[in-house]
């Protein structure tokens, strides 16, 4: 330990004030602080001991919570691939291997373009420390991408999202919209051909799919019932045995890399809730809002999609992933406890509304969260205004 420390200390010299590489001081500091928690101590007056958590550990918790869904996502990419091209994998390792080959490059591209290029550039120009926020965004961005996404698009989206949605606002903790969602929304609107769900989201490599392969996501199938008029559940079952409710829950279905398995996402949710890093209020209220809205639509029941059992809404598409990992982003969510309930409920309601009532978008969660990101400050504003009013009223009584 001491040995490594010495190396770091030596390497540090040119980066210090007056050193040759002073400009890159914050870059160095990033690496330094990743290796070692610095020896800085508490101030003269005030708190003399500090809580053991810091932002890095905080963010790391989110990453850990993402891991089950990510690993499953890699496996699923391989699974869908073999199913689509009609080959039989020699072992489950083959499935993983396909997934890794596809997913890891996406992650690398995200980090290289988002973190190493954009973020570092801003660090050097604006002389602020690198923030840990991108550690999480860098994993989240690949997880909301379909496995078929071209790498150049991932690169552009990462640069766009980091620049416009984060650095323009001053960096981690200052942004108004969820960075990963901005990346996805950017692609969604900039290059709708690849991501809007018109095309198959199953990674095929250079192969052509087997006959009768459709690769349609359950969400797309559900939306199609608007035209066919079939019952959603029956239509899903007819498509493939894989689209049973249980399987939708386990997640061996086509979809964006990280969002298919509700089971794995719930494991992540558990981690976030136990650690208190993610707000359980938001998660519960998103699910609740979606379920409630689905019930309302059931009651209307004007078309088969409206009549879809509410629980299906919770397991298809990205709702679970969004609710657990995106909506709970502490920076962009509502910041008051009362506000969190409203924020979550609205996301749930809007998601189902967009899905069912807006034929332009098969998936609603992404836009619902972005929309509520925009309105979270307003929700907070009114919650805080109520607090102020209480105080004022008390004073005049």
């Amino acid at each position: 330990m001491k040995f490594i420390r010495n190396i770091v200390e030596k390497a540090k010299v040119p980066f210090e004030k007056g050193g040759k590489l002073e400009k890159y001081h914050h870059l160095f500091e990033t690496i330094d602080t990743l290796l070692f928690v610095p020896n800085q101590t508490t101030g003269q007056k005030g708190v003399q001991v500090r809580d053991a958590v810091d932002l890095k550990r905080f963010m790391m918790t989110v990453i850990i919570a993402l891991v089950p869904a990510l690993l499953f996502g890699m496996y699923n990419v391989g699974y869908q691939y073999y199913k689509a091209v009609g080959l039989t994998p020699a072992s489950s390792w083959d499935l993983w291997w396909v997934g890794i080959q596809r997913v890891v490059p996406i992650i690398i591209v995200t980090y290289v373009f988002g973190l190493f290029i954009t973020e570092f550039a801003f660090t050097v120009i604006r002389k602020h420390p690198i923030n840990e926020g991108f550690l999480v965004s860098g994993i989240l961005i690949p997880m909301v991408m379909p496995p078929t996404i071209p790498l150049w698009q991932v690169a552009i989206a990462s640069v766009f999202a980091v620049t416009m949605a984060k650095e323009a606002f001053g960096g981690t903790g200052m942004n108004v919209l969820n960075v990963a969602l901005v990346a996805r929304a950017f692609l969604y609107f900039a290059y709708p051909g690849q991501i809007s769900g018109d095309q198959v989201w199953v990674y095929l490599g250079n192969h052509t799919p087997v006959d009768g392969f459709s690769g349609a996501t359950p969400l797309a199938l559900a939306a199609q019932t608007l035209e066919t008029g079939q019952n959603v559940v029956a239509s899903l079952a007819a498509q493939s045995a894989d689209y049973s409710f249980a399987n939708l829950f386990y997640g061996l279905i086509p979809g964006a890399i990280g969002e298919t398995s509700v089971l794995m996402i719930l494991i992540g949710a558990l981690i976030l809730m136990v650690t208190g890093v993610g707000s359980w209020k938001i998660m519960v209220s998103v699910f609740g809002g979606a379920y409630g809205m689905a019930l309302v639509l059931n009651a209307v029941g004007a078309n088969p999609y409206m009549a879809m059992p509410p629980e299906y809404h919770l397991v298809i598409g990205g709702l679970a992933f969004g609710a657990v990992f995106m909506a709970t982003d502490p920076v962009t969510a509502s910041q008051t406890e009362t506000g969190k309930w409203i924020y979550g409920l609205m996301i749930g309601i809007l998601t189902v509304m967009i899905r069912v009532l807006n034929p332009a978008y098969p998936e609603g969660i992404m836009l619902a969260i972005l929309f509520m990101n925009v309105f979270a400050p307003l929700v907070d504003y009114f919650v805080v205004a109520a607090n102020k009013k209480r105080r004022l009223k008390r004073a005049t009584v």
């Binding site: 323009a168 606002f169 001053g170 200052m174 609107f189 990101n373 925009v374 400050p377 907070d380 504003y381």
Partner: protein, 203 residues
């Protein structure tokens, strides 16, 4: 139902700000505080709600080709459409004056905070824009009224949300070159992405 649909559409989808960039000047200038934004928004809703139907009447019974035939068939050939811009802007200016007087009378506090911005409404492109779009789209009187109020609400919605975001941004470390207008443009753009969720909703 049709009207309801049009209302929703004019608030969320054909949003004055995000779809047409209208009323940007005051949108950017008066969005620093939520309370003022609400006041200005309400004033815009009011002015739009009145001027669009009034402009509709003017268009229908005075300006349009053959519109004057209600006076006498002789006038059927008359086409006063070239007076459209000037008539509309005059009506808007008059309405703004009216709103100004009303606010001054009933809410001096709001008048105090909005005072300098009220004349801005006259040159708020959203107002004139809504009237021109109304003509372009050949709305009926009922549609024009709904459209006027809807566009106003959409505009208000946008400016209030923007104001809340900007209040939050007070604490952010925005790059110097982006402070003020720049970051507001970016927020507006990003908000536009979020507003897109409503495109295509038909109830």
């Amino acid at each position: 139902m049709e009207l309801f649909n049009l209302g929703i559409k004019s608030i969320f989808i054909d949003n004055m700000i995000f779809a047409y960039f209208l009323g940007m000047c005051s949108f950017l200038a008066v969005s620093k505080k939520v309370s003022t934004a609400i006041g200005l928004g309400a004033a815009v809703v009011f002015v739009l709600g009145i001027t669009v139907p009034v402009d509709w009447l003017v268009q229908e019974y005075i300006l349009k080709e053959g519109a004057l035939s209600w006076i006498s068939p002789q006038f059927a050939e008359m086409n006063l459409e070239f007076l459209q811009f000037i008539m509309f802007i005059a009506i808007i200016a008059a309405m703004v004056q009216l709103v100004e007087m009303i606010i001054e009378k009933f809410s001096p506090a709001l008048y105090g905070s909005l005072g300098i911005f009220l004349p801005l409404i006259a040159v708020n492109c959203a107002i004139l824009g809504a009237s021109l779009f109304m003509v372009q789209r050949d709305y009926t009187l009922a549609e024009a009224s709904v459209y006027g109020v809807g566009s106003g609400l959409g505009w208000m919605f946008a400016i209030v949300a923007l104001a809340a975001v900007r209040e939050k941004l007070k604490y952010s470390n925005v790059p110097d070159g982006l402070k003020g207008l720049g970051i507001t443009m970016i927020i507006t753009g990003l908000m536009g992405i979020a507003f897109k969720s409503f495109i295509g909703i038909a109830i």
